[in-house]
Amino acid sequence: MAIGTKRVSGKPLNFGERLFVPEIAKGMAVVLSHFARNFVREKDVVTLSYPEEKAPYPERFRGAHRLMRRDDGSVRCVACMCCSTACPARCIHIVAEEAPDPRIEKRPAVFKIDELRCVYCGLCVEACPCDAIRMDSGIHVHPVTDRREAYWDKEHLMSLGGPSIAVQGGRARHLPPNESGH
């Protein structure tokens, strides 16, 4: 296909515009008004001085992951593998083990997230039935000098986490409510 030319017929300049000088003066008036306004007060400057000032994040900002804890301090995760199954980036690595509490059945022996592979989609949080994994820490993943530093393990993820007020799911009906009151 031959490339056609498109003819643009702009409005011809009138005499005043062809003189240039009045039009340049008009343009400079705009520029000068901005200069004067910003010189007197810096209200219109939207720039943030980043490390000192930070923009507030939206409420649902997805930052680094954290693992929530029960009231007794143990991890809420029951190693159901829902999050690692939902994860499109396959960055969650869980090894399950038996939990001492018979009402809970399983807990993660290893819970590792490769924060470099993570695409911060939030599907793991959606998938979690226990409110164990969250992305609301508000933390950017820090730059690392070695990839292994970006593999966040269970202890680190739990250190970011806190107690959850959600009712723990997967509770066995035939057993009495656990000591934490649910």
């Binding site: 000088v21 340049i24 343009g27 400079m28 705009v30 520029v31 000068l32 901005h34 200069f35 910003n38 010189f39 810096e42 219109d44 400057v45 939207v46 720039t47 001085s49």
Partner: protein, 446 residues
């Protein structure tokens, strides 16, 4: 040539280099970035600091200079090494030489009144003996402004050679564009200030400035070139911007078309020389514009004789001190915004004495108005030095404002297309400048 003249000349050259190279060009480089930022609703350079003192980002040119010197000086493998090395010098040195004929103030006479004898500023003492006055320009040439044009055109070689020696197609295009553009606009520039020569009857810049004192235009306005030759002034500023290859005439660089044009293959100190050369051309344009069209060292309505300057220089110095006080206030404001104690302290240290001096000088001047005498009880020699300082201050202020004006033009207008540059130069500005000469001649005859 006796020793005294030699020492004086060296001192003047050093003074000029300090003013232009050490003070003015970093300020211009800073102004380009900071002014652009402020008028585009941005913040601009503000990070480089010494103990929290950023001076509105004025330390950035310093940091830039250090950075440039530490960069690798790269020469392309097939470039013409000698020409590649020579080109930045060829672009920078002629521009610096041009400042030799720029008068920053009236000739200084430490004793006696100054008078012109055969175009040379002399000091006439009480007994009638005449000695050479100390001029505030490096070389007092009769050809004056023609010298500036001669050397400014030499800068074209630097740019053209840089484009050719780099062995790069884009650089060559840039060099060719620069050569054609500078050549075209030199003609226009030369023609449109012929009107100025006709009005003031001299090529010597100091003589042209002397013609702009007092109030001669329409009986009450100062006879500045901008009022007597308005068309010439606009044409001069336009062609001066085209000469210094700045926006809207920056086709030789044309980032979007030919990357960086003639200095594409330059790095390190050699790039800095082109960079500085461009700013120096802008400063030179401001200096020549000040001399030709904005009354040089003259304050509006102040007559060009020793007595009126001696009576009124405290007012000028008071204005300079008031500027210092304003600077201090701005420093204080900038420091308070960033909670930088050192900068606030500096603001107070600069601003408070400057404000006090300004108030004192202004009061002395107002008190002396009625008596028509010398307001400060200084000896004539001290007063002469202070008058010279006031005149240099006025010149530098006008130059600064013209540089600011060029920056405003730069950030207002988009770049012309190359054929539009040529069309504007040859088919619009050249006829208008010829018409300007004809009209000026007719008005002067009539």
């Amino acid at each position: 040539m006796d020793l005294e003249v030699l020492v004086a000349s060296i001192a003047k050259v050093l003074g000029m280099v300090v003013i232009v190279l050490v003070i003015f060009s970093p300020i211009t480089a800073w102004l380009e970035r900071k002014q652009a930022a402020v008028l585009q609703d941005r913040v601009g350079p503000n990070r480089a600091n010494v103990a929290g003192v950023t001076l509105f980002g004025l330390l950035h040119p310093l940091a830039d200079a250090v950075k440039f010197l530490w960069k690798e000086d790269f020469i392309p493998a097939r470039a013409n090494r000698m020409m590649h090395n020579l080109a930045p010098l060829m672009a920078l040195v002629p521009v610096m030489v041009c400042f030799a004929v720029v008068p920053f103030g009236e000739a200084v006479c430490l004793d006696g009144a100054h008078a012109m004898q055969d175009g040379v500023a002399m000091c006439v003492g009480a007994g009638g003996e005449a000695t050479r006055a100390f001029t505030l320009q490096v070389a007092n040439l009769d050809i004056g402004i023609l010298f500036v044009f001669a050397f400014a055109s030499l800068a074209t070689y630097g740019v053209a050679v840089a484009g050719w020696a780099s062995n790069n197609k884009f650089a060559l295009l840039g060099g060719l564009r620069a050569a054609a553009q500078m050549f075209s606009y030199e003609i226009v520039m030369g023609l449109n200030i012929v009107g100025v020569f006709m009005v003031y009857g001299s090529l010597d810049l100091a003589e042209i400035v002397r013609g702009q004192a007092g109030h001669g235009a329409l009986g009450f306005l100062p006879p500045w070139g901008v009022l007597l030759q308005p068309v010439g002034c606009i044409l001069f500023l336009t062609s001066a911007i085209a000469e210094s290859k700045r926006v809207p005439f920056d086709n030789p660089e044309g980032e979007s078309e030919i990357i960086a044009g003639y200095h594409l293959e330059y790095s390190s100190a050699k790039f800095m020389m082109f960079f500085m050369g461009e700013y120096m051309e802008a400063i030179l344009a401001a200096a020549i514009g000040t001399m030709l069209f904005f009354g040089g060292w003259h304050v509006p309505f102040l007559a060009d004789d020793d007595a009126s300057w001696a009576a009124n220089y405290p007012a000028v110095l008071a204005l300079v001190a008031a500027g210092g006080a304003a600077l201090g206030a701005l420093l204080l404001r900038s420091g308070a915004r960033r909670k930088a104690t050192a900068e606030m302290a500096l603001g107070v240290l600069v601003g408070a004495p400057a404000a006090a001096v300004a108030a004192w000088l202004a009061w002395l001047w107002v008190r002396s108005l009625g008596e028509h005498g010398v307001p400060l009880g200084f000896s004539p020699a001290t007063a002469a030095v202070l008058v010279a300082a006031a005149q240099v201050g006025v010149t530098l202020l006008k130059m600064f404002l013209l540089v600011v004006f060029q920056m405003f033009v730069r950030w207002t207008l988009p770049r012309f297309r190359y054929d539009q540059v040529m069309k504007l130069g040859w088919k619009m500005m050249l006829p208008v400048s010829l018409a300007n000469i004809a009209v000026t001649a007719l008005v002067m005859l009539w």
